[in-house]
């Protein structure tokens, strides 16, 4: 079932949770709504489910306008952040709830619940109460309960948020597999970009009640549309500077450094203040200078314990801290130690105008 969201606005008093949001979720896709807290992602999910009525705009399932329809009439599977299992009911009755209110016969209920218990690999636990299960098990029960009445779509609010790292990774993989099996149109909310990129077919990045960018995970990661998205998608080095002769200059007069301004952003005017974003893994280090697109720095820390070598440096006479990730092979060639004096040269720089960057800064504070 295709979901179409048109010009949705939702306010809570003076706070605008969603501002003219439009979105299309194609049939059978798994879509992630990604953003910091307060970005409106959960509100959007609840509007799609009918748990929240928008102030304006409409929600369509295929061609069917369901904006005025109550949640109970939408036949949607919804998984809540804190599971919201019925504490006084057994696992069996929790999963059966949607079938009981639809007046299924006992026999059919039993068959369907057992089928779902097999699917979530919790056979034999149907007589337990939710409080007797672990977090990961409860989440799977919540999922089975949502799927019981064969909904037209599955909506998940921070489905992995309350779980510890190991269980979260397992459940993530399992949800992806499950989706590949049943191909149900699914939308899930997360604030974890890694989670969104790993699980989803399509990522929607939200901020302050608006959609900042959407697209395939690879495409969004490779070319973030603006400063907010660049900043939000994982750790990144930030530099301030201005445009001179069509190039972005950062650093001081004594130690200048400049970059070509990449194509989408090169409309920036001469003299405009800009912010440059450099990802740690898109930087190389060398012991010799490469001219004006490299920068002098001193190594302050080297950490070789991960899959890449993380090197912390300071540039500009201690003014600019900078993080770099190198492959172990490159690190072995360089043999860096603390206090080494080196040259840093970024392979890719993303430059955005300052006012835009400042806006994203606000968002982080608000979050």
């Amino acid at each position: 079932m295709k979901i179409t969201v048109r010009d949705i606005t939702k306010r809570y008093g003076a706070f605008t949770a969603l501002q003219n949001v439009s979105l299309e979720v194609p049939q059978g896709k798994l879509v992630a709504l990604l953003g910091p807290s307060g970005s409106g992602k959960t509100t959007l999910l609840r509007v799609i489910a009918g748990l929240e009525a928008p102030d304006s705009g409409s929600v369509l399932y295929e061609q069917d306008d369901v904006t005025q329809r109550a949640a109970k009439e939408r036949n949607v599977g919804f998984v809540f952040q804190h599971y919201a299992l019925f504490g006084h009911m057994t696992i069996f009755e929790n999963i059966a709830f949607g079938l009981r209110v639809r007046k299924w016969k006992n026999e059919a209920v039993r068959e369907r619940v057992m089928e779902l218990l097999r699917l979530i690999q919790l056979e034999g636990l149907e007589k337990r109460l939710p409080s007797q299960l672990s977090g990961g098990q409860r989440q799977r029960v919540a999922l089975a309960r949502a799927l019981a009445a064969s909904p037209q779509m599955l909506l998940l609010d921070e489905p992995f948020g309350a779980l510890d790292a190991k269980v979260r990774a397992d459940l993530r993989r399992w949800i992806r597999q499950l989706h590949d099996e049943i191909h149900m149109t699914s939308v899930f909310v997360t604030h974890d970009q890694e989670e969104a990129f790993e699980v989803a077919d399509h990522v929607v990045v939200m901020n302050k009640g608006r959609i900042e960018q959407e697209g395939a995970p690879d495409a969004v990661f490779a070319s973030p549309a603006n400063a907010f998205v660049t900043d939000f998608l994982g750790h990144v080095n930030v530099f301030h500077g201005r445009i001179q002769n069509g190039r972005a200059h950062i650093g001081t007069e004594e130690m200048p450094m400049s970059f070509d301004v990449p194509a989408p952003q090169n409309g920036a005017d001469e003299g405009a203040e800009v912010t440059a974003y450099i990802r740690p893994h898109e930087v190389d280090i060398d012991r010799v200078s490469h001219g004006s697109d490299s920068m002098f720095a001193i190594v302050t820390r080297v950490n070789r314990s991960g899959s890449t070598v993380k090197i912390a440096l300071v540039a500009q006479e201690g003014q600019l801290p900078l993080d770099v990730e190198l492959p172990h092979e490159r690190d072995a060639e360089l043999g860096l130690v603390v206090n080494d004096r080196v040259w840093v040269y970024p392979r890719q720089v993303r430059v955005f105008r300052r006012e835009e960057a400042a806006q994203s800064g606000d968002a982080k504070i608000a979050a």
Binding site: A49, G50, L51, A70, A71, K72, E73, R74, N75, V76, G77, F78, F80, H82, Y83, A84, L85, F86, G87, H88, M89, F97, G98, V101, R102, L129, P130, S131, R138, R145, A146, A148, A149
Partner: protein, 303 residues
């Protein structure tokens, strides 16, 4: 002491159960006051308890049985005493369902919805706690009494409220209406609205969600509120005393005690009082059991 602390710090798996209890004992020892302070504190608490609870309790029963079992039996089975017990039960039987209904509705509205004037409603619910019961009784006399706002209108139809059972019910209901509501508001707010929302997206109507999800979730809190409400409804003196015109023909149990005492029938007064005391003791026991259940339900609900 030192040895055991070290053993606790590195428990072997076989001994984990034992060392855990040792650990707990060690913690308890570490946070304890000196023995002298303990004894003084406990003695103070016991003295207070004895003076204000146990001695009066003992006196009630001692006085009730002073003239023997026969007099006691005669006192509590006299037509006046039986009428008073009947009336008290009747008042409770009318007040409890009314206040339960009101309490559930008010708590539901406050805990599950956002609306304007919510804090005003919460304050209003607490009003009977703030107002003296005597004032509460007077309010109804001023409304429904002979010279009251609705006095003439009622007189014309020969409907009696003040100095009659409806007045007693009204006054009792007013004095006791916060109990269920207050108890449930805290309970429902602790549980949030997620389970009801879950029921709705699963296709349940509001009614189904209420009976299948909300009521089972709040049943112990509800029972707790009803027990407190009942205890107060049966024991209320001030408001009821005012609306019955200070000890008249229609008497509830507390009024009957006052009447007998005023007529120097001490044994009979204490005999009737002992019934109320028993109700109080039973209430405390049930309350304790329900409290434990209610607490575990809140914990289970948050899972």
């Amino acid at each position: 002491m030192n040895d055991s602390t070290i053993a606790v710090a590195a428990p072997r798996p076989m001994e984990s159960e034992k060392s855990r209890s040792q650990n707990r004992a060690a913690v308890r020892r570490a946070t304890n006051e000196p023995v002298g302070v303990q004894i003084v504190l406990i003695a103070l608490a016991l003295a207070f308890l004895g003076l204000f609870l146990l001695v009066p309790l003992a006196v009630v029963f001692a006085e009730a049985f002073r003239k023997g079992w026969e007099v006691y039996r005669a006192s509590i089975t006299s037509p006046e005493a039986l009428a008073a017990i009947k009336l008290t039960l009747l008042v409770a039987a009318i007040t409890l369902p009314l206040n339960t209904l009101f309490g559930v509705a008010a708590a539901w509205a406050i805990a599950k919805f956002r609306f304007k004037g919510k804090s005003v409603l919460i304050t209003l619910i607490d009003l009977p706690f703030a107002v003296s019961p005597v004032i509460a009784g007077l309010i109804f006399v001023l409304l429904f009494g002979r010279q009251g706002v609705f006095g003439e209108w009622l007189m014309a139809r020969d409907w009696k409220i003040i100095f009659a059972v409806p007045g007693i019910v009204l006054a009792t209901a007013f004095v006791t209406f916060p109990f269920v509501a207050r108890e449930l508001i805290a309970f429902m707010e602790a549980q949030g609205t997620e389970e009801e929302e879950a029921a709705m997206v699963l296709g349940a109507s509001g009614w189904q969600a209420f009976w299948r999800v909300t009521i089972p979730n709040i049943k112990w809190g509800l029972l707790y509120g009803i027990i407190l409400c009942n205890a107060r409804a049966m024991g209320e003196f001030g408001a009821v005393s005012v609306v019955t015109g200070h000890v008249g023909r229609t008497n509830t149990v507390p009024l009957q005690v006052e009447l007998l005492y005023g007529e120097y029938q001490f044994a009979a007064a204490f005999a009737v009082a002992s019934i109320l005391t028993l109700v109080g003791i039973v209430t405390l026991i049930i309350k304790r059991v329900v409290e434990v259940r209610a607490h575990s339900q809140i914990k289970a609900g948050s899972g």
